[in-house]
Amino acid sequence: GAGVSQSPRYKVAKRGQDVALRCDPISGHVSLFWYQQALGQGPEFLTYFQNEAQLDKSGLPSDRFFAERPEGSVSTLKIQRTQQEDSAVYLCASSLATGRELFFGSGTQLSVL
């Protein structure tokens, strides 16, 4: 596609519910990143894939967060047993190669009630 596509655009979840956020990167982009952006803050790194390999998951805040990219293209970020502090915009970004500029999707705004 022309850009990074994320779905859903908005997600409202009840506390304790599991959610899955989808990211479709730019075709041919090897690297894929997930970022979390809280209100009034900059994006904070969650995890990074190179093709299907998850090379860095040091930013995932707890074991309730899980990301996968099984075929090296589409990625899913899953949050289990959501809590109110998980409310944020989740941004996906891809890049052609490691270290190059990131191209971001519009994000998924998650609200946990």
Partner: protein, 113 residues
């Protein structure tokens, strides 16, 4: 611990004048820096980058300056236009391990017609 800092949450500038956005970093290992622009309800879009081997990079109305000794970079927009009104984030990484970009908290620029 915030490794990239943008100490000015907001900035207002008259149309046609220069906008100067500032960014400081603490990690001396950072050697690749980027500026992103973000409109409401959209993901950040890449604007301009600079590597540490340079002290200036220019692209049209946008120029980024890097002062490595001060661990400081700035983005100059000349002349400023109303369409430049957005939130600007600076980001930094270590090039050869560039799987993690660190973002500042953003500066909201308003260009007054």
């Amino acid at each position: 611990d915030q490794q990239v800092k943008q100490n000015s949450p907001s900035l207002s500038v008259q149309e046609g004048r220069i906008s100067i956005l500032n960014c400081d970093y603490t990690n001396s290992m950072f050697d690749y820096f980027l500026w992103y622009k973000k409109y409401p309800a959209e993901g950040p879009t890449f604007l301009i980058s600079i590597s540490s081997i340079k002290d200036k990079n220019e692209d049209g109305r946008f120029t980024v300056f890097l002062n490595k000794s001060a661990k400081h970079l700035s983005l100059h927009i000349v002349p400023s236009q109303p369409g430049d009104s957005a939130v600007y984030f600076c980001a930094a990484s270590v090039w050869n391990t560039g799987n993690q970009f660190y973002f500042g908290t953003g500066t909201s620029l308003t260009v007054i017609p």
